[in-house]
Symmetry: C2
């Protein structure tokens, strides 16, 4: 069993995509994150959902979540305005290093995929053939194939 | 909209549960992780799928994933034996601190839930009423409710 046999379609967005559209995609697909592709079309980084929340929830609310109850309405409005006029590039953590994205070749074995996920503490790997993204593999999909029947 | 209205059932396991059974649950439910409950029944920590892989994939394979291709069969066997005769307790990271699990009260607002997820970089929060776990909220579920219609 190779990575190409397990890979499934996974939502990707470009760095210049509209932030609101990207977040809507994440919500609609029930995805825990999105794969962000760079200008060359190759996966550049993974944008986890928690990072989106980190972008849209004001720092003072994060510091004292209990306050959110009192500031609910105002915070909701700030949220929407924060996503409008921003791109995915604005939400991606600044320290993102292109080397950090978990990527495997379509020929990678299941154990190889598992090793990459384990090493990078990632719930997801992108399967990339040269310049083309074939799909992605989540940890639960992988476990299904790794476990003895 | 409160946490209790969004929370959905989420697979939980106890610390003393059989490791193999727990991993099968994660795979069958297509869950990115499991909520681990302590001896008192309250959520104790989250066991991410990548941590399971970290437990079962030998360190030398993690260090050089390319080697996995050559050692495929042997590594697969080691994997199965590693899960047998182990419990969830063995797979949970040793440094796990009970304070680190993202937990909210059923009355928490969506913004409050978002703040907790953002602060803790978690794709998931457990919704707990006293001693009872009501369910869990994933980041994509939350985004569905946070975004303007």
């Amino acid at each position: 069993m190779r990575a190409r046999d397990i890979a499934e379609p996974f939502p990707t967005v470009s760095l210049d995509a509209d932030a609101m559209a990207a977040v809507r995609t994440m919500a609609a697909e029930r995805a825990p994150g999105l794969i962000v592709c760079g200008d060359d079309g190759r996966p550049y980084t993974v944008l986890p959902g928690s990072q989106v929340l980190n972008f849209i929830i004001p720092k003072y609310v994060q510091d004292q979540p209990g306050l959110a109850r009192a500031f609910g309405e105002r915070a909701s409005d700030e949220l929407s305005t924060k996503l409008v006029r921003h791109t995915v590039r604005d939400m991606v953590p600044k320290a993102a290093d292109a080397d950090e994205i978990p990527v495997v070749h379509p020929d990678a074995t299941t154990i190889e995929v598992a090793a990459v996920m384990a090493k990078m503490h990632s719930p997801l790997v992108a399967v990339v053939d040269g310049e083309r993204m074939v799909g992605a593999i989540t940890v639960s999909q992988l476990l299904t194939h790794l476990l003895p029947v």
